[in-house]
Symmetry: C2
Subunit: 386 residues, 2 copies
DNA sequence: GCACTTTGGCAACACCGTTGCCAAAGTGGA
DNA sequence: TCCACTTTGGCAACGGTGTTGCCAAAGTGC
């Protein structure tokens, strides 16, 4: 009967101004909070009282919210906890099949698409070669074809399916390069000027008949990690054919006003250093990739570490996560090299704070595609834009 | 009768978890939104319908909220707009005398305190020499004395005055160096080890009997600028005896989990560059101050510009604001030097985006003290932590 | 003087989380 | 086996939010 999320996201107030909130927005907010905790709890489930404690809501409010979710088929009972002297707590879990989303990762030469259920589990995956030079129409057609093939696996789905509770939420598309996340328009695709200003979101949405969201690959990966359980604030550093970053501050992806945030590769860390393809001198990307090219992994990691330490100090983040093909090829060398720089910086500046931890981002080469799917699922759990 | 803000700030849910919202939180949120627009409108005022349009609330909701504010004495009628064929719109404005806050700026050798009214106008100011070496008790006593002298100017105020509608909201204290904003504890005061771990907030609050908030000088200045009308996201770069930054992202100050964000002076921009006092090499602060010391203002500005361009690219901010004694001494040279680097970077990376604008921050040497007062006033207008 | 437009308050309403209450479902001791 | 006790969680009533429908008030313009 009830809708857990009607898609309006509360009162509108379009534009830059902060918006007023009404009762509908209040309900969506609290419902999203509960859904987020249900998802985080996994198949074991959580009790109502635990949800109440962790949201700050009263137990009765949680009961009302979870009753709606159960009526909508989004949540279900999952056994009960051991008694502590009274009636045992009933555990609730999210129903994974209650919704799905598709994530598409347009890499330089490969298209990777995944079908993800409501809890974020990948339940379908496809890979296909990609040729951006074939033109926008051909690429859009190819992405649509792959998405439709995957979508056919969703029970009761198909084009035009409802937004929630059954079928497909939509398709998230992640790709490198500057673009406008809010409008879904590409600014520039390096090496393929015919893509400049292409309205990818509308083209794909018009063809598929489901919502489409477009974002930078690094932002998608960062969102996927944030939804996947990484807490607090962190930076996802992606080292592949280029170098970029996705920033998560306070649990939300920071994109900046023009989706330009995370421009990490062209951070200058060597005044008057070697020239970069961007025109500047001493960019991390140029220094790092040059070191990789000559086989100097320690040098590449050190350079990356210096830039990561700059970022960590500037934003006071909780951890640094590394990903991308180049990192995947030599994970140990990069993690240790970057961590060494962060340790040195922390010890020099004061004894109070421990060094920012560095890890390889979970998810591997599928992280971007999974994150792309979270562009649609995230808002359901309150992980939308900010 | 009614309280526009009861200080609880909605449901608690202390800790890192995102909190649930109840009706009280909803009301505070919308009330803060309306208050913020009233403050931004200035003495001319705004009409109810304009408030409704800009918040996304219905006119009737705005009427209810403004009726409460008028009953509380926070808002009042301010004439009416010209008719457009019907009943003319009644204009509403904030009552400046409805509340005050004190801001204290503990600089290296000077204590500057300001008394600010509800709309942010400075209505009192004091300056006194400061000697951090005199010990915590002496400094706390001195700050308390200055604050009490200023507070005496508030009609109907005094110690223990109510939090809203009459008297003093509290005292905001801004000072350099690492500290814990949430607990009001100093970590380290460069050159004065006896201050390590001093609970400044509690010491001062206990003595004055009003709420006290402590923050870094750069964060306070950035908050003051954000409340003072600077829109969107920006960085405030403070170049005085040291170099630091305050970051405003999406209208709110970004402090990071440990109030460490804005560590800008020790961004490394020259690998294996000259050693810095922090132990690292090639920090902007060392490079920039060395250039200033040898009279090379263009060089100092260029170095600052490189670091500013890194920051602007990483966070996709809307503008860069410069402040601090060194900038105040040579504003033209720094603004132009930094702007030149940002222009060059923008043109190299693409033709779409114009360069990030650079300006001298308004407020001058009083900006930090004014911002410190906003540490108390800001939350009333929804500009609290995030 | 009258028709019309526009503002903004009053009253009724739907619905949010909250509170008070109590049935259901367990434990543990007699 | 019974009973006192603890704990869970649903039902009902409640206060208070923004919303809707309605209309008096206050202007303009013919």
């Amino acid at each position: 009967m009830n809708r857990a999320n009607d898609g309006t996201g509360g009162t509108v107030g379009t534009g830059g101004a902060r918006g007023g909130a009404n009762l509908l927005a209040l309900r969506s907010h609290n419902t999203a909070l509960v859904l987020d905790l249900l998802r985080a709890a996994g198949p074991e489930g959580v009790s109502r009282l635990e949800l109440a404690e962790r949201t700050g809501l009263t137990p009765q409010a949680v009961s009302k919210i979870t009753a709606r979710l159960r009526a909508d088929g989004l949540a279900a009972a999952a056994g009960q906890r051991a008694s502590t002297g009274g009636k045992p707590r009933t555990l609730l879990r999210l129903v994974p099949e209650a919704g799905h989303a598709i994530g598409a990762h347009l890499d330089r030469d490969e298209l990777r698409t995944v079908l993800v259920d409501l809890v974020g589990t990948v339940v379908g995956e496809r890979r296909a070669p990609l040729d951006l030079g074939a033109g926008a129409d051909a690429v859009v057609a190819e992405v649509a074809r792959e998405a439709e093939t995957l979508a056919a696996e969703v029970p009761g789905s198909g084009r035009g399916a409802g937004p929630l509770g059954v079928g497909l939420f939509g398709v998230g598309v992640a790709l490198p390069g500057p673009l406008d996340h809010t409008r879904g328009v590409l600014h520039r695709v390096t090496g393929f000027p015919e893509w400049d200003g292409f309205a990818l979101r509308d083209a794909l949405a018009g063809r598929l008949g489901v919502p489409v969201v477009v974002d930078k690959d690094t932002n998608a990966a960062a969102l996927g990690l944030a939804v996947g359980g990484e807490r607090g604030s962190f930076a996802y550093l992606h080292l592949g054919t280029g170098l970029g970053a996705g920033l998560v501050l306070g649990g939300s992806v920071h994109r900046g006003a023009r989706t330009g945030a995370g421009e990490f590769g062209h951070q200058v860390i060597q005044l008057d250093g070697p020239p970069c393809t961007c025109g500047a001198r001493g960019c991390v990307e140029a220094l790092c990739l040059a070191a990789v090219a000559r086989g100097d992994l320690a040098g590449a990691a050190r350079v990356l570490g210096v830039a990561a330490a700059n970022l960590a100090a500037l934003l006071d983040i909780d951890q640094v996560l590394l990903g991308g093909r180049t990192v995947a090829a030599h994970p140990g060398a990069f993690v240790e090299g970057v961590a060494a720089v962060l340790r040195a910086r922390a010890h020099r500046e004061g004894d109070h704070d421990p060094a920012v931890p560095v890890r390889v981002a979970p998810g591997g080469l599928r992280a971007v595609a999974e994150g792309a799917a979270q562009l649609l699922l995230g808002p359901v759990f309150g992980r939308g834009d900010r």
